[in-house]
């Protein structure tokens, strides 16, 4: 059963002078529990596709169905709630909030849900323990290595128990050893039932996933 279904997606970026077609009539289905890699050269539209899939950006044309729900007609507030409950994000540059410590960063998605301080704390500690960072809870992002930062980001993506995790080059800023650690962690998450869509440039880590799709010039070619 497909948990993500993109139908005829077109995304065009328009400025006063130039019109850039980022995605052109893209169709894609991702099955529940799948670990999918998206590959392609820089500027081919893979991140745009991931943003549309993650409801961070809207297509100019086409339908986005997530977990069976058509999202095109949703208003901003509904999209925010839907993202919070269904999706988790991992970014190449981690996007941790530097003024918050590790525990507070991980708690972030739960701030936008009805939950008590205590339950947030407990869940955050539990997830941090899963990613092996229990001992760094009070540290700030600037005090962590790149690999640790990405593990915090994974914990943040996991805390809301989303059905889908969208990872945009999660190992792009890490050395190979740390990249391997992160991939192991993502495989564990996937084995627990979470669907993962990962954009990557690294053929070797893409091969570890269940399926690879390739993009070129805004079109899916494979």
């Amino acid at each position: 059963m497909s948990i993500i279904n993109l139908q005829n997606i077109t995304k065009i970026y328009q400025t006063k002078e130039v019109e850039t077609v980022a995605l052109e009539n893209v169709n894609l289905e991702v099955n529940e529990g799948e670990f999918l890699s998206v590959m392609g050269p820089s500027g081919c539209g893979k991140s745009t596709m991931l943003n549309i899939m993650g409801l961070l950006d809207l297509p100019n044309e086409g339908k986005v169905l997530i977990n069976g729900t058509e999202t095109n007609q949703m208003k901003d507030g509904q999209l925010a709630e839907f993202r919070n409950e269904t999706l988790g994000f991992i970014f190449q540059s981690f996007h941790l909030i530097n003024s918050l410590n590790v525990l507070d960063n991980v708690e972030l998605p739960l701030l936008y849900r009805k939950s008590t301080d205590k339950s947030r704390r407990e869940l955050a500690k539990e997830v941090l323990s899963k990613v092996g960072l229990s001992h760094r809870m009070k540290h700030f992002p600037s005090q962590l290595s790149g690999g640790q930062c990405q593990r915090v980001a994974i914990a943040r993506a996991l805390i809301g128990n989303p059905k889908i995790i969208l990872a945009d080059e999660p190992t792009g800023n890490l050395d190979s050893k740390m990249g391997e650690e992160i991939m192991n962690l993502l495989h564990t998450v996937n084995q627990a039932g979470t669907t993962i869509v990962m954009v990557t440039h690294d053929e070797s880590i893409a091969k570890e996933t269940q399926r690879i799709i390739r993009f070129f010039d805004g079109r899916r070619i494979q």
Binding site: N51, G54, L56, D57, D76, G77, A80, E81, R83, N84, E85, F89, F91, H95, I97, N98, S99, L108, P109, L111, Y112, R113, R156, G160
Partner: protein
């Protein structure tokens, strides 16, 4: 947020503090002049008549006019018997620089002290702190003997620590019996202040104390009726009492305020507009400056806003968060500004309050709940004006652009 952008935060707090200082100096001065605190603890239910205009119509366009503070005759005949006020009193002006020759009876040691001439009802209007003796009564006032109440410092100087009550002093070589001694009153209190309070009928200001503020319209109607009565009895002359004004209006700049009710109301309108304009300028100019800092702080947090929205923050959540965080800066600045405004008022009291350098400003005038409510309201307003636009822009930023730190502000 404060720790994230220390330099900008410090500048922003300092800017807020200066803005709040300017506004709060005006408000604190206004509060000191207006709130009901001892001894002028009935200000909120007092109406003031400080000026009368008597006019004789000569022809269509010209009048004979005589005007000034309220005369004792007019007071006795037209105001002293008003039915609704709880207390009615006429009192002379008090000028600490305008002094009389004073000595203890039988002694040739002469002093120079200022005085205020008051009636017996005066003592019901204010809450003096009597150290010894009592105020003079209505019977004392009506008797041939002139009575006085002395301030503590004058009694000490005159009697060198000996008991003053019951003794006789001479003011301009006329005997006066001392009935009481009160603690010194600051010249901040325009009508309660005085060095020596002498029992005599004087021209001056008339204070009408209502039992309840709701009685104000009835009292004003009675005053207008008194004017009409004067007109009937003294035709072709007619009378206009300026006011009666409440405490706030009475404290507005002591300028010429018209020869009739209509002119007076126009002057009040203009004065109120002037105040609103001044307040708006004092609020908007710093708000515009501070909005630059606010925008700069938001720019530094573009990516954070993107992350928060990606993980489920709604537009209004971001809006509230930015305003709330900015409010913290505003409140810190507001608190510092309020302290500075206190310093400014104390330092510049001569100019701002028109009081003598030796006058103290009562602490409870500074710490009135109204001042704290106003400073909070001003902080919120300044916060909305300075951070409202950046908060709105932050809440509307596209998530993808925010995450990529594309400058949209």
């Amino acid at each position: 947020m404060l720790k994230q952008n220390k330099f900008i935060s410090i500048i922003s707090i300092a800017g807020t503090a200066l803005a709040i200082m300017m506004i709060m100096t005006l408000i604190v001065v206004n509060e000191v002049k207006n709130i009901s605190i001892a001894p002028e603890d009935k200000r909120d239910r007092t109406l003031y008549i400080t000026f009368q205009v008597e006019r004789e119509r000569v022809n269509e366009s010209s009048f004979n006019t005589r005007s000034g503070d309220v005369s004792p005759n007019i007071f006795n005949k037209y105001l002293s018997d008003l039915k609704t006020p709880e207390y009615i009193s006429i009192m002379s002006d008090f000028n600490p620089e305008f002094k009389q020759t004073v000595n203890v009876e039988g002694e040739s040691n002469y002093f120079q002290f200022p005085r205020r001439i008051v009636d017996a009802s005066y003592w019901n209007i204010f809450s003096f702190d009597f150290i010894d003796g009592n105020p003079f009564s209505e019977e004392d006032f009506q008797s041939d003997v002139r009575n006085v109440v002395l301030s503590e410092s004058i009694a000490r100087e005159l009697f060198k620590g000996e008991k003053a009550v019951g003794r006789t002093i001479q003011i301009n070589f006329e005997n006066h019996r001392v009935t009481g001694v009160v603690k010194d009153v600051s010249t901040v209190f325009k009508y309660a202040s005085g060095g020596i309070w002498v029992s005599r009928r004087s021209h001056g200001a008339v204070l009408l104390v209502a039992r309840d503020k709701q009685d104000f319209p009835t009292i004003i109607a009675e005053v207008r009726e008194a004017e009409r009565r004067y007109g009937i009895e003294n035709e072709p002359w007619f009378l206009y009492f300026r006011g009666p004004e409440n405490q706030k209006v009475n404290n507005m700049d002591n300028m010429w305020r018209g020869n009739n009710e209509e002119e007076f109301r126009n002057v009040i309108k203009i004065e109120n507009r002037r105040r609103i304009f001044l307040f708006a300028v004092l609020l908007i100019i710093p708000a515009l400056n501070l909005s630059g800092f606010s925008l700069s702080r938001i720019k530094k947090r573009t990516s954070e806003i993107g992350v928060r929205k990606a993980f489920g923050a709604k537009k209004h959540t971001i809006l509230i968060q930015v305003l709330y965080e900015n409010l913290i800066t505003s409140l810190i600045g507001g608190f510092i500004g309020l302290i500075f405004s206190y310093i400014a008022v104390v330092w510049l009291k001569n100019w701002l309050l028109g009081v003598t350098d030796s006058s103290t400003i009562p602490l409870n005038a500074f710490l009135s709940p109204a001042i704290f409510v106003i400073v909070f309201a001003v902080c919120v307003l300044l916060n909305l004006l300075s951070a409202g636009l950046s908060a709105l822009k932050a809440s509307r930023m596209s998530i993808v652009n925010s995450l990529n730190k594309n400058d949209q502000l």
